[in-house]
């Protein structure tokens, strides 16, 4: 329609100290010691009526999720950042400033907690076929092997729990998330551990501990994967 402006809103990615430099393509909306990382979005794309449908569009979702991550990632190792969950959208900048006013104390507490730290992810995977043991010859040996496999699966779960305890004691904070089901990972191995750990930026102690665990559990069919550094998504809540 001629003469009408398309409706826009402000998408908020996260919160940083107000002296931070903005990420490319975003603005910093300041209020007191805090600033919201924000970008203008079209409500034709992000409006309440269309968003549920958009979220079912894999290509759209992937693009937007990657933008969200890239913006927050640009602060990692530079300045502390509080990640917001995907899809916080405001009508105008006054509303964004009101958010900073209302939740400011909590944001400041989280910024202090994550300052100088990064999130690392650790996943442990179990593959019973990789458990080191002699090959079965007779039927009895086969049955014994099946029993061993079942008990090694139980052992694997216990190993994952113990691994998390060890990693948590090396980190400043730790969170266990539900392992992803096979339908989601598309992998043959079973995910045993899906943990997130807050560690000092640049510290090698944690990665060394993961490598040590991996070495110890090689014969048990358990492998470890380290991901990150991530913005502190898992440590963003005030009460975490």
């Amino acid at each position: 329609m001629i003469g009408t402006t398309p409706a826009v809103g402000w998408y908020v990615f996260g919160v940083v100290p107000s002296d931070a430099a903005p990420a490319p393509g975003t603005y910093l909306v300041e209020r007191g010691p805090l600033a919201a990382i924000a970008a203008e979005v079209s409500l034709a794309e992000f409006g309440e009526e269309v968003l549920p449908e958009r979220l079912n569009d894999r290509a759209w979702l992937e693009e937007k999720v990657r933008v969200h991550e890239a913006v927050l990632q640009s602060f990692v190792g530079v300045t502390p950042v509080v990640p917001l969950r995907f899809g916080a959208i405001y009508h105008d900048l006054g509303d964004v400033r009101r958010l900073l006013a209302e939740r400011g104390e909590g944001f400041e507490a989280v910024l202090e907690r994550v300052r100088g730290r990064v999130e690392l992810g650790v996943k442990a995977w179990f593959d019973p076929t990789r458990v080191t043991r002699p090959a079965a010859g007779s039927g009895r040996e086969y049955l014994q092997q099946r029993r061993d496999e079942l008990s090694s699966a139980r052992d694997a779960a216990a190993v994952a729990a113990a691994a998390h305890e060890r990693l948590a004691s090396t980190a400043d904070a730790a969170v266990v998330n539900r392992p992803h089901p096979r339908e989601l990972t598309g992998r043959d191995e079973q995910m045993l551990l899906n943990g997130a750990y807050l560690v000092p930026d640049g510290d090698e102690t944690f990665a060394a501990e993961v490598a040590r665990l991996a070495e110890e559990q090689l014969g048990a069919g358990i492998t470890f994967e380290l991901t990150g550094p991530w913005p502190p998504y898992n440590f963003a809540e005030d009460d975490a």
């Binding site: 809103g9 908020v12 996260g14 409500l43 992000f46 409006g47 309440e48 968003l51 549920p52 979220l55 079912n56 569009d57 894999r58 979702l61 992937e62 999720v65 990657r66 969200h68 991550e69 509080v82 990640p83 917001l84 969950r85 995907f86 899809g87 916080a88 959208i89 405001y90 009508h91 509303d95 958010l99 939740r103 944001f107 989280v110 992810g121 998330n177 992803h180 339908e183 989601l184 990972t185 598309g186 992998r187 899906n194 991901t227 991530w230 998504y233 898992n234 963003a236 809540e237 005030d238």
Partner: protein, 56 residues
């Protein structure tokens, strides 16, 4: 990267971007915040994994 590796990375990303971070009910998006968003994101991924499996 293979399609499967890309999928794993996307799962990792969605796990954080859609399921973690501070929940703020923006005044535009109040009704899609929280549980619904998580559910929708996972459903999209499950559907796309199924597509990957079929195309193998």
């Amino acid at each position: 990267m293979t399609a499967l590796e890309e999928q794993v990375t996307l799962v990792e990303l969605v796990d954080r971007v859609l399921h973690k971070g501070v929940v703020i009910a923006g005044d535009v998006t109040l009704s899609v915040a929280g549980v619904d968003l998580v559910y929708l994101g996972l459903r999209v991924l499950l559907a796309s994994v199924a597509t990957l499996e079929e195309s193998r």
